[in-house]
């Protein structure tokens, strides 16, 4: 499925944030869009707290506790889909 221009921009923006906030600590990791942050070890439990806060402030989304799941925040793909759906 093709992605909209807006979607592509969002993906680039989120990737830039992930790189700046987390990936710089792991220079050996090549992150694919579908890779699970937790499995790769690039974001740990507390990192997700930061990530959720960032998504809330940057996109003005109110994230409910029950929404903080692997399906919504576990990978770049998941994150893009969640933000697209909710903003």
């Amino acid at each position: 499925m093709g992605e909209t221009e807006v979607g592509t921009a969002l993906r680039a923006e989120l990737r830039a944030y992930i790189e700046e906030a987390f990936l710089y600590l792991h220079p050996d990791v090549e992150l694919a869009d579908e890779d699970e942050f937790l499995t790769l070890g690039v974001i740990d439990s507390l990192g997700f707290v930061e990530l959720v806060e960032e998504v809330q402030t940057r996109y003005g989304i109110a994230v409910d506790a029950l929404e903080i799941t692997e399906e919504n925040f576990g990978s770049l793909d998941a994150l893009v889909a969640f933000v697209e759906r909710r903003r």
Binding site: E20, A21, Y24, L25, H26, P27, L38, T39, G41, I43, D44, S45, L46, G47, F48, V49, D64, A65, L66, E67, I68, T69, E70, N72, F73, G74
Partner: protein
């Protein structure tokens, strides 16, 4: 029952079909856990692992970790649980220090295990859990679905069942020297501690405990030991990264017991854990250790889970647990960490070893069958902590922590005597982080302190002075730390300075740095 192995055998004999473990989609009964542990024990023995040998376990919270622990014990060996975020150099150090003969790991971590094993010639075997226990280990499958290569069921069971005085585990903990120390624990130590904790929590068969704390951390490890002992179910989850997932598990798995550390409860309550509370009629107890809960977190937890009893506890790996505060005392003495756990004694001593009366501050001393046997290969450090006890054969644990007691014997933590920090509930030795920073190119000197942090307990803050002409960045230094240290030890903040403040006698003034770090933490968020 005096060995951990007997606990599992008894559970398998009396409750074979009851659920022992749940992890993701996989479920294992006590009979299946027992069979899998037996198969691994046979496999380990076939590889030449002998009674008393050390087997390192490098696994995340998964069913394989539980099998590896009990399989190692059944083979008569001692397990060495390791944090899966450990890095190669430190892993190699630990493997050499405990003289491990084998390491059990998984596909993701096996290259790390291999890399470290190359530096630890004693390690003869690396076993990968996936080779054996594949995704078919679900409730609908026969017990044999979780087995280990070579562990055919037709082989005779291992004949070296451990006895109570055998070494069961070496648990590594941060030491103020910067090198981790191996706490040696016998079956008797661990079975006693597990039994004592089970007693005051009132744990029983059919309890269901959710463990998001790593099994490599003794707090997580004991959840497993206690569940097997009581024939309760342990639900394993790899951390608390996804509060939505944790809350879903609490409801779906009808959890009755939730152990955590302040960071976890902070995340859960700030994420709105109360939203699911009405779906949790079964939740009976919540336990907290590693650091005191903030009063606001206690209030939030009680509001979110009014049905659960809340236990504040205090301990150190060297004896597992010292004390617990009976839940009805939380409002009466919110600052207290309670009374000694059942079957043990604790008191306060002055520097000369005399017991102090209520109200006076001194060193906390602990007596009981839970006290460790000493630090592996480190008689000097052992002598500092284990002192002659009441009887010629007895040794008591001098914790190194400053405490006081009130008139009714309730214990209050005052301060640590060493400079160990607690971040996310885990011990961090500033010296260990400093050693790693000193290894980075261009670092002249580094000092590491803790800053109070709502989420972490202590945030690790490093102050670094570069060599003349060296161009260092905070980001590069954090990256260097991330490559060498477990996640929880990586400084949240690295500050570059031209020089460090010194005391009148020329030492680095850590108090001044700690004040500075606290001031920084109170300011704007970390700029990376």
């Amino acid at each position: 029952m005096t060995t951990l192995d007997e606990d599992l055998r008894r559970a398998a004999a009396t409750a074979p079909g009851e659920e022992a473990l749940v992890a993701g989609d996989r479920r294992l009964t006590f009979a299946e856990l027992d069979a899998a542990a037996g198969a691994l024990a046979v496999r380990l023995q076939a590889l030449g692992v002998e009674r008393g040998d050390r087997v390192a376990i490098l696994l995340p919270n998964a069913i394989e970790a539980a099998i590896a622990i009990y399989g190692t014990l059944r083979a008569g060996a001692a397990f060495v649980p390791l944090n899966p975020t450990i890095k190669a150099d430190k892993l190699a150090y630990v493997l050499r220090d405990c003289e491990a003969t084998a390491i059990v790991t998984d596909d993701t971590l096996s290259s790390l295990a291999q890399q470290a094993s190359n530096e630890a010639p004693g390690v003869r075997h690396t076993l990968r859990a996936e080779e054996a226990a594949d995704a078919r280990g679900t409730r609908s499958c026969p017990a044999a679905s979780v087995s280990w290569p070579g562990g055919a069921r037709s082989r005779p069971a291992p004949t070296t069942a451990p006895i109570s005085v055998d070494l069961a585990a070496i648990v590594y903990t941060s030491g103020s020297t910067g090198r981790p120390k191996g706490v040696t624990l016998t079956h008797a130590n661990m079975a006693f501690a597990a039994g004592s904790i089970v007693a005051y929590l009132g744990m029983r068969a059919h309890d269901r405990v959710l463990c998001v704390v790593p099994l490599s951390f003794d707090y997580g490890l004991y959840q497993l030991l206690m569940c097997v002992r009581t024939r309760a179910t342990l639900v394993l989850e790899r951390g608390f990264a996804f509060p939505g997932r944790v809350l879903e598990l609490l409801v779906r798995e009808e959890i009755t017991g939730l152990p955590g550390v302040p960071t976890i409860f902070q995340v859960l309550t700030s994420a709105g854990a109360g939203a699911v509370a009405h779906d949790l009629p079964e939740l009976r107890f919540i336990t907290n250790t590693a650091a005191a809960l903030a009063p606001a977190t206690i209030d939030a937890l009680r509001a979110a889970f009014p049905q659960a009893r809340l236990y504040s506890m205090y301990g150190l790996t060297e004896c597992k647990r010292v004390s617990y505060l009976p839940p009805e005392q939380v409002d009466v003495r919110p600052e207290s960490v309670g009374i000694p756990i059942p079957g043990t004694e604790a008191w306060i001593e002055d520097d000369a070893g005399a017991r102090l009366p209520p109200g006076e501050v001194g060193e906390l001393v602990v007596r009981g069958a839970h006290v460790m046997q000493g630090y592996w290969n480190d008689p000097a450090a052992t002598a500092e902590r284990l002192r002659p006890g009441r009887w010629p054969w007895e040794r008591v644990l001098a914790t190194g922590d400053l405490f006081r007691q009130d008139d009714e014997g309730f214990l209050y933590f005052v301060a640590r005597r060493d400079d160990i920090l607690k971040s996310r509930g885990e011990k961090v030795a500033p010296r260990e982080v400093e050693t790693v920073l000193h290894q980075a190119d261009g670092v002249r000197t580094a000092a590491v302190v803790g800053a109070p942090d709502r989420m972490l307990g202590h945030a690790i803050v490093a102050f670094v002075v570069p060599h003349d002409g060296a161009t260092l960045t905070s980001a590069a230094l954090r990256r260097h730390c991330a490559a060498c240290l477990e996640d929880y030890m990586v400084p949240a903040r690295v500050e570059l300075r031209d020089q460090l403040p010194t005391t009148p006698n020329g030492k680095v003034d850590r108090r001044a740095l700690a004040n500075e770090a606290a001031a920084l933490a109170a300011g704007p968020a970390t700029v990376r």
